[in-house]
Assembly symmetry: C2
Homo-oligomer: 345 residues x 2
Amino acid sequence: MTNLAALTNHQIRLAARPVGLPTRDGWSFTTEPVVEPGAGGIVIKNLSLSLDPAMRGWMNEGKSYIAPVGIGEVMRAGGIGKVISSSSPKFAVGDTVIGGLNVQEYSAFDEMSIKRAGITKVDLRIGSLTQWLNVLGMPGMTGYFGLMDVGQPKAGETLVVSGAAGAVGQTVGQLGKILGCRVVGIAGGQAKCDWVVNELGFDACIDYKGGSVKDGLKAHCPNGVDIYFDNVGGEILDHVLARINKKARIIICGAISQYNNTTAVQGPKNYLSLLVNRARMEGIVVFDYADRYHVAVNEMAGYLKAGKMKSKEDVVVGLDTFPETLLKLFNGENFGKLVLQVAAE
Amino acid sequence: MTNLAALTNHQIRLAARPVGLPTRDGWSFTTEPVVEPGAGGIVIKNLSLSLDPAMRGWMNEGKSYIAPVGIGEVMRAGGIGKVISSSSPKFAVGDTVIGGLNVQEYSAFDEMSIKRAGITKVDLRIGSLTQWLNVLGMPGMTGYFGLMDVGQPKAGETLVVSGAAGAVGQTVGQLGKILGCRVVGIAGGQAKCDWVVNELGFDACIDYKGGSVKDGLKAHCPNGVDIYFDNVGGEILDHVLARINKKARIIICGAISQYNNTTAVQGPKNYLSLLVNRARMEGIVVFDYADRYHVAVNEMAGYLKAGKMKSKEDVVVGLDTFPETLLKLFNGENFGKLVLQVAAE
């Protein structure tokens, strides 16, 4: 067992609710001793944290699908780490685990909070550390259940996905191809577009920074859009609404274009296309599918092993870089699933 | 048989595509002789026409769920009339029929166009002329299939319906009560609100002209909103989105607040409530359910007969009043299903 008394836990806490982009002065940097959590508990050395657009929502006050992070609390984050101390019969020192570790170097859980934080063991034989935060983790689960349960894709249909090179987008697009859909991505920049087409096998990708999304949709979706997996909201959602087919399904997974607004969210002015096309727009929150994660993990692990699915992570090293690293999500600088490496293995 | 040669058919044609509200100068008033339609055809003397918000959409150019009315064409309208001449084996002189009769005094159909116009016989023993344009007609079918198929109501759920005193709204709310829902209407003016509560049995009704819809929803939907049947769009849709429950269903039937906009449609800025609540917004077009109209008609006729359902029609007399009568829909002056009586029986 590690000598916990010798360790210091660096943490990053929410100091103030951000207005617009969350900048460094909205965080506080604290240290704490690492203490034994008591009988049945575990201590985890955090290795890598998942940085996701949803984190921006957790910083806001108000009712949502999950309680907001309180002012002064360690920022919420999923992550992967190694058990360094355990009096739980379910975990042994050396186990690799995933769950709600938050933005800090060490996470200690008593018996009750292990379950609340969703700490589970991971098998590094079926996916790497970073794949467990990506295609086998929350983004992968979000993409899988959003596409499968809400999108209900059928072979031959046209699937459009925004944030195509992001964690959720890459999963959705590749799953779509496996299912026989025509898959058109929307991403920012030629490099990302080239990657999803050349490496992931998307049929096409529209660079929203380099040209007209409207024209791109027209060119690449000659048969209209049957499924739209939306991670971005804003004008792109309106452009897609203008091209949906009868009985189309729009999965509302996120709206990253709107998260840092200081004015009201931009509502989709083309929403009456839902009426004209008897189409559906439906929200998804991944936690609803927790009892089926294992099914999706097994399926996706099979695709990874068979080479039918690839993954890309954008790994930034250093807990202290958290404030600026998080912003990469909102200016579109991340290329692949954004991971903050807190410690090497 | 009537002597057709003695008759003149007064018609109202779309003269120009309206910008904003469709005013009298956008219509042309023409006359034509009534001519025998040939073997297998029928001539109908039109009695009452159904005036509906959807008509505004049919006047616009562009792709929709139905082709726009062409400039110079007789305005499209559903209606009910009496067969005055027939060489069709399916219809006898004296039959009362319903279908696409358009805004004119007489409608002649050859064998092929009888089907295209959806002309069918109606049984006046199960509903009056105006009920056949209301709860047993298109508005009733729209309310029935929108609520049942898209809304999927369960007893004990809270159902909110806008345009509550209108043709679709009165059907939806009364069906909701029959199914055991808590039903809250939204309508314009105290008289309409009193009527839907006192006569139709809604649990409450919010007068959007007399107070805050937001406060009204808070007061009358203490357990949130499970189903919202939307006929109006605009700000009211946003207010309801702010109060929906997990897995709520929003039926997009219309958006009368937006039909005469000269600027862009107001998109629902609270649409991310769909994400937070894993809720669904879905459009409905009644024509999709044509093969099941008879099921709904039988069910609703049963409710009418049993006194479980009432109906109210707002009947205006005179073909020539059509332009101004239609506007009653858009300023909310109609009280009940708006009917234009072209001829007495």
